[in-house]
């Protein structure tokens, strides 16, 4: 689960991590009042969307008067923000964060994630912070430090010194880094974060360390014990169909093609999409109905797939291992009857009782196209377009 920058920064404050003072504003709020309340003579207005690369996309503006701040907020709120991380369709901006300006001496990079190789949390940092960090990492990996943390020992002081050194810090910033790193690690662990990123982490002109940006991502599997984090979820940032699917415990991702896919299991779903493209088609979505594939879940899946008006044909591929294919076939027939199908549906059911399933589908009042194997299914759905 993702949260906005302003929410991540509030969590930072709660854990004692220094961030600039700021206020979140929607279209209804007065940016003028917010700027006046923050005081000073420089402000930064930042688009709040669940994607990075906002600066390059025009979603971040530095302003030097309250009038300018109002104008910048208005512009950004009217923007459909396209960045390297949003996809071509971009994102509607519904909220902005207005912050006090910070006099920057140096921009650094710091992040934390769970590293699969060491099976442990890891801190990644670089003296070369800012927008081109991936390029820095690819071209000059020696400028990036990766520091795994032993989960039994936690983050040790010598490690924080090593990180401070890699960041090129001197003076009071070294001690500040030690405290900041242990607070960040505490936040990461206590809140079940899966990714934390500060880019840039800055040294101010007065020599202090402050998190100018904040990104936080959380482990969906841990949300049962993180009610306060779950309360930060902004459903408006999610694709409406994807949000609807997650309510129904279906995993759905919208794509650009016109063949709707309904498959049980993520790996088989990806393989099915691969094969559709291999034989010349284009999948409209990834959809994993999970292990059960009951009539109710198949009906919900149908409704979500058909809500995408670009869908011209549907491929259902279920490998019935535990769930019997004849049951799935009954569910598919029942669900199809309930949703007024106007597109052709190719069905491939394999596994337990596959032959019985075939008989059920062929005897149904709905004109299913029954496929014999994976290849046959992909070819039939492409030719049904």
């Amino acid at each position: 689960m993702n949260v906005h920058e302003y929410q991540a920064k509030q969590l930072f404050r709660d854990f004692g991590i220094p961030v600039p003072n700021g206020k979140m504003c929607t279209r209804e709020d007065s940016v003028r009042e917010a700027a006046q309340e923050l005081g000073g003579d420089t402000w930064v207005v930042k688009a709040q969307v669940h994607a990075g690369g906002r600066g390059k996309g025009g979603g971040v503006r530095v302003v030097r008067s309250v009038e300018e701040a109002e104008k910048a907020a208005e512009d950004i709120l009217n923007l459909r923000l396209v960045t390297a991380q949003t996809g071509a369709e971009g994102r509607e901006v519904r909220k902005v964060l207005i912050e006090e300006g910070v006099a920057i001496q140096k921009e650094l990079y710091l992040s934390m994630l769970v590293d699969r190789a060491s099976n442990a949390p890891m801190i990644i940092c670089s003296e070369a912070g800012g927008v081109e960090i991936e390029e820095v990492a690819a071209k000059t990996p020696e400028k990036v430090l990766q520091e795994p943390i032993d989960p039994a020992l936690g983050l040790r002081t010598y490690q924080t010194r090593r990180i401070a050194q890699a960041l090129g810090l001197t003076g009071p910033a070294v001690r500040q880094a030690g405290k900041m790193l242990s607070d960040l690690y505490r936040l990461f662990v206590e809140k079940d974060a899966s990714m934390l990123e500060i880019n840039p982490l800055v040294v101010t002109e007065s020599g202090d360390l402050i998190a100018l940006d904040a990104k936080l991502q959380f482990d969906d599997n841990a949300m049962f014990r993180q009610k306060d984090v779950l309360a930060l979820r902004d459903v408006e940032e999610e694709d409406p169909l994807e949000a609807q699917a997650s309510e129904a415990d279906l995993s759905y991702i919208r794509l650009d093609g016109n063949i709707g896919c309904m498959v049980n299991g993520a790996g088989l779903a990806m393989a099915t999409m691969d094969l559709i493209q291999y034989v010349g088609g284009a999948p409209a979505n990834f959809l994993d109905v999970g292990g059960g594939a009951s009539a109710a879940s198949v009906e919900k899946a149908f409704r979500i797939i058909l809500a995408d008006t670009r869908v011209k044909a549907i491929l259902i591929n279920i490998f019935g291992g535990i769930v019997r294919c004849d049951r799935v076939a009954q569910g598919v027939a029942e669900a199809a009857g309930n949703v007024e199908l106007k597109v052709s549906v190719v069905v491939r059911l394999e596994g337990t009782n596959a032959a019985e399933a075939r008989t059920i589908l062929e005897g149904s009042s709905i004109d299913f196209v029954v496929a014999n194997n994976l290849r046959d299914a992909a070819e039939k759905v492409v030719s049904a377009l």
Binding site: N2, H50, A51, G52, Q85, G87, S111, M112, L113, V114, D115, R116, A117, N119, A120, M122, I133, A137, A138, V144, D150, P151, A152, D192, S194, M195, L196, E197, N199, K215, Q217, D219, N221, A222, L255, D256, G265, A266, G267, L268, M270, A271, M273, D274, L275, I276, Q277, P283, F286, G291, F319, G320, G321, I322, E350, G351, T352, N373, L374, R375
Partner: protein, 290 residues
């Protein structure tokens, strides 16, 4: 032969009184697996599917000689269930539970390291040695005893691959789903090591998917160890769009690895035969063995 499970396997099912636990305990028994006990704290003394239920794994080990655990315990309690099994002297733990928080699995992984216990999963379909024992939730009847070792990150895609093998007459020595979570027990390279020493296994089919670097790691293992048997690979997700993501941390760590193309390249570099499309898995293995 085969690896991990066979006729000497004695299974205790943790969470046997739950809906899934009881259903799959019966499925394993029907396949001929020796399921000797169940565990549900507080329900000791009952019977489920004809086997005694104990309050602890220790009791199941002491009283029924269980040496393998199959876990269906709900996510909030599953990490503890794994640790309990290891503490009780279980040698192989197969954790089916999906949705365990990563933070819970990190200390489990580090605690099991160096101990004489193997963990498969979590979030996996389990292990089967066809004709001998099934410790998992896969449909047994699609399997055929034979000489191809199968190891996969996926569930239903493994069934698809196994069916393709069986359809072309190629049986399997042992099939393992290692699970799709970020923190898991045995990985591709660990299982390649076990298959290398198994006489019954003549070739290994490795089914990967996009994300992470497990496939690249396996390919490097094959090169470094001059792997003695043919390995055939497949990577799902060739056409999956790059995920919408936040931040750069993941990209820095993976360093450009993780895409289907990168994984296939790594496999080819290691001399593996790579299946060109998902319907060609059976055929590609057949050709590699010809």
């Amino acid at each position: 032969m085969g690896i991990l499970v066979d006729e000497t396997t004695r299974v205790v099912v943790q969470g046997i009184t739950g809906k899934e636990g009881s259903f799959h305990a019966k499925g394993c028994m029907d396949y001929g697996t020796k399921v000797v006990a169940g565990v549900t704290p507080g329900k000791g003394g009952q019977e489920q599917e004809g086997v005694p239920v104990f309050d602890s794994v220790k009791d199941a080990v002491d009283r029924e000689g269980a040496n393998t655990s199959l876990i269906f315990v709900p996510p909030p309690f599953a990490a503890d269930a794994i640790l309990e099994a290891a503490d009780a002297g279980i040698r192989l733990i197969v954790c089916i539970t999906e949705g365990i928080p990563v933070r819970d699995m990190i200390p489990v992984h580090h605690s099991l390291r160096g101990k004489p216990v193997k963990l498969i999963g979590p979030n996996c379909p389990g292990v089967i040695t066809p004709g001998k024992a099934k410790v998992g939730i896969m449909p047994g009847f699609i399997h055929l005893p034979g000489s191809v070792g199968v190891v996969s990150r996926s569930g239903t895609l493994t069934y698809e691959a196994v069916k393709q093998l069986t359809d072309v007459g190629l049986g399997q020595s042992t099939c393992i789903g290692i699970g799709g979570d970020p923190i898991i027990g045995l990985r591709f390279k660990d299982l390649l090591g076990l298959f290398a020493e198994d006489e019954q296994t003549k070739a290994v089919l490795l089914i990967g998917e996009i994300g992470g670097t497990a496939e690249e790691e396996a390919a490097q293992y094959i090169i470094d160890n001059k792997y003695p048997k043919p390995v055939i690979g497949f990577v799902a997700g060739k056409t999956a769009p790059p995920g919408r993501r936040m931040g750069h941390a993941g990209a820095i760590v993976s360093g450009g690895k993780g895409t289907a193309d990168e994984k296939q390249k790594a496999m080819e570099k290691a001399g593996m035969a790579v299946c060109p499309s998902p319907d060609a898995i059976g055929k590609t293995v057949q050709e590699a063995l010809a």
